[in-house]
Amino acid sequence: MTWRNIGSAKESLFTRLDFRSKLALLLVATCLAFLWESPKLTGALALTMLLLCLLARIQLDDVSRTLLIMLPFYAILLLTHGFFNTYVGRTTLWVAPANWWWIGGKLRLTAEGLAYGVMVIFRTLTLILTIPLVIFTTDLSTLIVGLVRMRVPYRVAFVFSATLRFLPLWFQEIQAIQEAQRLRGLAVESMNWLKRVLVYSRIAVPLILGALTRSQQIEVALAARAFSGSPKRTYLHESTLHAADYAVLFLCSSVLLVAVWLRVTTGLGRFGPAGL
């Protein structure tokens, strides 16, 4: 996922929602993911988020790339919980043969451990799917106005926006300097890590000087466009809550309240044999 994906989703119900409603959805999904320990419920939550992503017409290429990167991490999670989560592990599925050195007879794979691992995977999946649901469907300008409406100081929101604008330029500059070094016979590929660190540290000088020059140019350009950093300004983009936003906010808060109430009173969502 990159900065370019912000606001990249096609027109849908989600692109019409206010940033604040989507932020509420993100918060509620995160709370539920941590409130519930049942693999069934967290699985259902992740599935719901996936369906919402499809409904929001989000390009899933970047999401699937992130999931691909996460795959080894998920395998480790599953095995770690399966073999070592003795806190939940009860039902043994497999034991290391007794003649295996050191671990023989001790290393056990448990059903509950595996289930817990699956639950943690669903939990992270929920987050991985919800963040693009909010970010990809929100235009950056609307996002900034949304932040300001949520009482984030304008200067902070502006720095956030300007960073997204200028970060790619900064990366281009790093790449240009690294290329220039290679083109002066620097064989980075055949260096040990210590030498590499020393070489990369040389980049800092032109990079910092370049950044200083550039930031002064930007400051001058901002001043020339009547920018004073004052929060007393108007906005082209609007951040208004419509009926759909109120419905989402109501639904989100209701679901959260009911889930907390059920968890406290009936234990719904608690990890245990029932959760399996």
Partner: protein, 577 residues
């Protein structure tokens, strides 16, 4: 036109904090409403400082010592805050990258209006007006990075216009643009001036365009206003311009050269049309005797030094940058690669350097596939100097910068010192050896990078836009250095937009357009392929266009490249008889 004064500068002098001397000295100037003023002058003349003094950024942002008085639209620039002055004086800067701050085209235009608390409905109305004015309507939702160079500058102009200022100041807005982008900006500004009556102040090195578009021209040099008058009078003073390192329009240089030969024109014209009129006057007194031009380039025998075979390349976003390119460069050649922005010139060069690998086809150096060589090893045989010297400087002294590559090659001791010394001497940098490279003027910084690359003693030298952002003298200096290296046996490839600077240096021109080579010919032939150049959005130098008009008038072939060559073809009738 309302003749009221809109800009009044009285005895303006200014010194930056911690600067040893004055950046501006005793400048007096008055501009009427609706006037178009061009400012010319060498690097370091104080042009940018003068522009910044008009909207109060000098001295309110920078500090320093400020003398005299500047009033714009009746507002004193010392007494009124910058954000208030910005509503009357808008500015467009040189670098499109650092002045566009929003993430969409419409947000860019809205930014200044939001800052001055304009109501939303008014912002929406002005966005539509400003974008239509600069012909960017329909691109409201685009990210600035998706625009071409010319479009970016037009967006910067739209953003400046949104406040509906009385004065528009543009500081070298075309210096980083290709000829088409440059033309787009000039014509847009001219239209704003004539149609909307906006007073325009434009700084540029582009003499031909200035002569064509502006009402008055001011020469700034060493912080002083040397002269200010109509372009016809200023640009006709060829020797004065040369004294201040300003390139005269080519037609003016041509008539000045005729004058030196004793063929007196009634006046020195500064535009193509005026040049034609004057030609009609001098025509009866002169005769054209084109010499026998050297034949079409030198035939190169033997295998090429560098070679591309059917190279195809597409960027990850799908942009097809090279489409079946085949090109041979022989040892000792001087090749210029030209083409509009996005034609694929830099992509092509990156293949020679193994910074990119072709999707299909081959790139060979002395018959060896460059993809089999690491970049660092290949760099010892092909030296590369990129457009921005600052990105290629990462040492704290000039000497260390030049020694950097040599240390990577394993050189130490006396041999290293000797190579550094030779390289510094060749580029005239010996006096700077202990200085920080980034503390040097831009022209000298470019030479430091050349010295650093040259120290590796590569067979081939590639320069990407070596004259961009340099004034006439610095550009000439760097081209002279490249010429010397070529004379010393190096194979040279130069990528450039500045066609007018290349005659006298290059032998062969490769014209690229949209990922293909559309012409590969000796320079004399290439520069006169006017229609083909236009099809790739390139404009031949002014003197070539003028010569073609004369050639058509006289029904002769006149494939000249420079004002001096054209003047050399023309003799007085009495002299001829």
């Amino acid at each position: 036109m309302d003749q009221a004064a809109i800009v009044c500068v009285d005895n303006l002098s200014y010194q930056y904090p911690r600067a040893p001397g004055l950046a501006l000295r005793d400048i007096n100037l008055t501009l009427r409403k609706g006037e178009f003023l061009g400012i010319i002058g060498p690097t370091g003349a104080g042009k940018t400082t003068f522009c910044l003094a008009l909207n109060g950024i000098v001295p309110q942002f920078y500090g320093g010592r400020f003398f005299g008085r500047v009033t714009v639209a009746g507002l004193d620039t010392l007494e009124n805050p910058i954000h208030l002055l910005a509503q009357h004086v808008a500015m467009v800067f040189q670098d499109p990258e650092t002045q566009l701050i929003a993430n969409t085209v419409e947000d860019e235009v809205a930014f200044a209006l939001e800052n001055v608390n304009a109501p939303r409905a008014e912002i929406v109305r002005r966005i539509a007006w400003a974008l239509t004015t600069v012909r960017l309507d329909g691109k409201e939702k685009k990210h600035p990075s998706e625009l071409s160079g010319g479009e970016k500058q037009r967006l910067a102009i739209a953003a400046a216009l949104a406040l509906q200022p009385e004065v528009l100041v543009l500081d070298e807005p075309t210096s980083q643009l290709d000829p088409v982008g440059s033309q787009e900006v000039f014509s847009t500004v001219r239209e704003l001036n004539t149609r909307l009556g906006i007073t325009v102040i434009l700084v540029s090195h582009a003499s031909e365009e200035m002569a064509e578009f502006v009402d008055r021209v001011a020469i700034l040099a060493d912080g002083q206003l040397v002269d200010m008058d109509t372009p016809a009078r200023i640009f006709a003073q060829v020797s004065l311009l040369r004294r201040y390192a300003i390139r005269p329009p080519q037609v003016a240089s041509f008539y000045a050269a005729l004058q030196d030969k004793g063929i007196a024109a009634p006046y020195i014209p500064v535009t193509k049309d005026a040049a034609e009129q004057v030609y009609e006057i001098v025509r009866p007194l002169t005769q054209i005797t084109p010499p026998a031009w050297p034949s079409q380039g030198v035939e190169r025998a033997g295998p090429p030094l560098l070679s591309m075979r059917d190279v195809e390349y597409a960027y990850p976003d799908g942009t097809q940058a090279l489409r079946g390119i085949s090109l041979d460069v022989h040892a000792g050649e001087y090749v210029v690669i030209v083409g509009q922005n996005g034609a694929g010139k830099t992509t092509l060069i990156k293949h020679f350097l193994h910074l990119l690998e072709p999707e299909s086809g081959q790139v060979l150096l002395n018959g060896q596939d460059v993809c089999t060589l690491p970049v660092s090893e290949l760099a010892q045989r092909i030296g590369f100097v990129s457009q921005n010297p600052d990105n290629q400087i990462f040492n704290t002294t000039v000497e260390a910068e030049v020694a950097f590559a040599l240390r990577n090659l394993g050189l130490r001791g006396a041999e290293l010192d000797e190579r550094v010394q030779t390289s510094l001497q060749t580029l005239g940098l010996t006096d700077y050896r202990k200085r920080h490279p980034l503390a040097l003027p831009k022209g000298a910084r470019a030479r430091v990078v050349v010295a650093a690359v040259l120290a590796m003693q590569p067979q081939v030298l590639i320069f990407d836009e070596p004259t961009t952002g340099q004034d006439y003298i610095d550009a000439q200096h760097i081209l002279d250095v490249i010429h010397q290296l070529h004379q010393a046996g190096k194979t040279v490839i130069v990528v450039t937009h500045h066609l007018h600077l290349m005659p006298g240096y290059a032998e062969r021109v490769v014209v690229m357009g949209k990922g293909v080579i559309v012409l590969d010919a000796p320079i004399r032939q290439a520069f006169h392929a006017v229609e083909l150049l236009r099809s790739t959005y390139l404009t031949p130098p002014q003197i070539v266009q003028f010569a073609q008009r004369i050639a058509a008038r006289e029904q002769i072939a006149l494939p000249i490249l420079t004002p001096a060559e054209l003047a050399g073809c023309i003799v007085a009738r009495s002299e001829q008889s």
